[in-house]
């Protein structure tokens, strides 16, 4: 029972952490090498990895999506999609997809004369599922080794932890004051009931034993 509880806990908090990792912004330093637009089929469950912008009807099963291609300082390829999030989840309220596409095209550079930019994005890249992180902002970087401190994530996660802790402490206090005493009551009566049963069974066994010639 203890294992089940722990497995359940680990699964729950693992899923929550993964969800945060997907949703919170991350920043990469890349040089942009190109942009392209490709028609995407959105008819299966991988739909969750694409945005649901306002302007597109929910019933649409394919549409054109813009992509931004980049390389980081270790020459690892990064491909971002460029989609509005609109008013829906995740709450980035991104409406400037066309502007971002223009900025990306402006920042295209070659390997010999690289122009490094910081791309803010959320989401995951997965080659098997054809999932792409969504680029949210492009800012010039000082160089490939620029140090980016994720202030937003630091503040957000600290606040989130504080809120969870505050609720947890209050819930525990409430449980100790209101629920535990009731459960203890139930526990006492359960113990009393099982003692009673045990005693009766003992008497029954003693009676059976009289057939074997034992005295009561």
């Amino acid at each position: 029972m203890v294992y089940v509880k722990w497995i359940f806990r680990i699964l729950f908090w693992g899923a929550f952490a993964a969800w945060l990792h997907y949703t919170l912004p991350q920043r990469d330093i890349v040089r942009i090498v190109g942009t392209y637009e490709e028609r995407q089929e959105l008819g299966d469950w991988t739909r969750i990895f694409w945005s649901k912008p306002d302007t597109q009807s929910e019933g649409l099963i394919n549409r054109d999506v813009q992509f931004i291609q980049g390389f980081n300082s270790k020459d690892k390829a990064w491909v971002y999609r460029n989609e509005d999030t609109g008013w829906s989840w995740p709450p980035y309220f991104k409406f400037d997809t066309a502007n971002l596409y223009t900025e990306a095209n402006d920042a295209i550079s070659t390997k010999d004369a690289p122009e490094w930019v910081v791309i803010t994005h959320y989401g995951w890249r997965n080659e098997f599922l054809s999932a792409f992180p969504n680029a949210v902002a492009i800012k010039p970087a000082t160089g490939p080794d620029m140090r980016v401190i994720p202030w937003f994530n630091i503040i957000f996660l600290t606040l989130l932890a504080a809120i969870f802790w505050a609720i947890y402490v209050r819930w525990r206090r409430f449980r100790e004051a209101r629920i535990d005493p009731v459960l203890e009551d139930v526990g006492y009566s359960w113990d009393a009931a099982s003692d009673n049963v045990a005693e009766r069974r003992g008497r029954f066994r003693a009676w059976l034993d009289t057939f074997k010639g034992k005295s009561r």
Partner: protein, 87 residues
């Protein structure tokens, strides 16, 4: 349509949070008033003292600060829209 959905769902969620916070804050205030009564060894009608204290609390600024539950997220969203799209 998306904006309408966000506003409706946001309003419902924030209202739930608002009511939970209000009830919790009132309960805390009540417990504090009772503790004050016991600590200072007051005599007389405790219920009247607590009721009076809660009435004072209902008119206080502290009570109205809970309205920030509605105001803070709206400001936050407005700032976010500006930062993401226009900065």
């Amino acid at each position: 349509m998306g904006l309408v959905r966000l506003v409706v769902i946001g309003f419902i969620v924030l209202t739930v949070i608002y009511f939970c916070l209000s009830l919790y804050s009132r309960a805390v205030r009540r417990a504090k008033l009772k503790a004050q009564w016991d600590d200072e060894g007051m005599t007389g009608d405790q219920d009247a003292f607590v009721t009076h204290g809660l009435e004072e609390y209902d008119n206080s600024l502290r009570r109205k600060l809970i309205l920030g539950v509605y105001i803070v997220p709206v400001c936050f969203v407005a700032i976010l829209i500006y930062v993401i799209n226009f900065m």
